[in-house]
Subunit: 186 residues, 2 copies
Amino acid sequence: MNARQSLTPSDWINAAFRLLSEQGPKAIRVDLLCQALGVTKGSFYWHFRDLAALKAEMIARWRQAAARDLIDAATRTDLSPRDLIISLFTEVQKRQAQGGSLAETALRQWSDADATVQKLVREADNERLAFLTTQIRAAGITGGEARSRAAFMYAALIGMEQLAGEPALTPANMAGVIDAILGAEG
Amino acid sequence: MNARQSLTPSDWINAAFRLLSEQGPKAIRVDLLCQALGVTKGSFYWHFRDLAALKAEMIARWRQAAARDLIDAATRTDLSPRDLIISLFTEVQKRQAQGGSLAETALRQWSDADATVQKLVREADNERLAFLTTQIRAAGITGGEARSRAAFMYAALIGMEQLAGEPALTPANMAGVIDAILGAEG
DNA sequence: ACCTGAACACCGTTCAAGT
DNA sequence: ACCTGAACACCGTTCAAGT
């Protein structure tokens, strides 16, 4: 779509995510990618060993993006566990309100259709769930309750990413819900 | 897959959901449907005015299924608002644990790609959110807090439907989380 | 009615050759 | 270094022809 310049890995991966979002997992194909980028198939194989390598790279990128919020949060040692969780949720909410990653829903869809992808997505899910559980423990919830509340929170996080339209949850009213979940036990 | 018998509307709709789940929104096509059902295109147009009519019917079915839990719950006047919410969540959880509706994730995906579908899905989302808000009010949460806690709960509900793998939330530990969200205000 | 086998279509992959 | 263009490989699908 522009001045000829050699393609970067990101060009290929972005095009692949676009195909995934618009036409589903089956559209992640060498010929369609090349068509989208205006090159021939030989070019693809200069950049990637094979199609599987590109797909692996796609998941890696998603995982990295998905984990970024957690990492950002975790390094902010200035925040209490409670504030850290709130910041995590508002961050995801903000991203979603700004158009969000359309790829989130497409990726879950892909995961349903491809066992390899599903495995990696589950790993990432478990990682994030573990992080939330740790924070909730640090906030004072003990025993198995910590894990179930974390699971509920994590489901909410995923749901927020999937839900279209104006979010009913805003940064302003997020704290109240989180505090309730972190509140009185049993 | 059996003795020849004339096709019902459900046959067409089920086939369409299968195509949606397996191949994405773009696979909802007259020719692919006919192929799946072993008939020719003329048959489709005897059953439906056009492709849009079939799609509308698909959404209507989903919406009805999605609302069923709420309706079931709402009619159980024997339950307190708190127990009613818990029953709603465990119901969805149970359904998901049993393999769940693979179509849920596919439908959100479709919604991203098709504005008409998105509109109808949003309407259903808002309906369900309103129901939850009412219940939470009845459970004693006042003002805007009721809506934000409902929104959080609803996001969790959607997330639960999307998440694959063994659920970290079980019916047994659901109550604790719900009670927390229904608990102490501000 | 059911099967064969050749042809075709589709798409991932390779590679010698260009710039 | 990056890409072209043509060829090849694999596999699902079609279909005329057999029994």
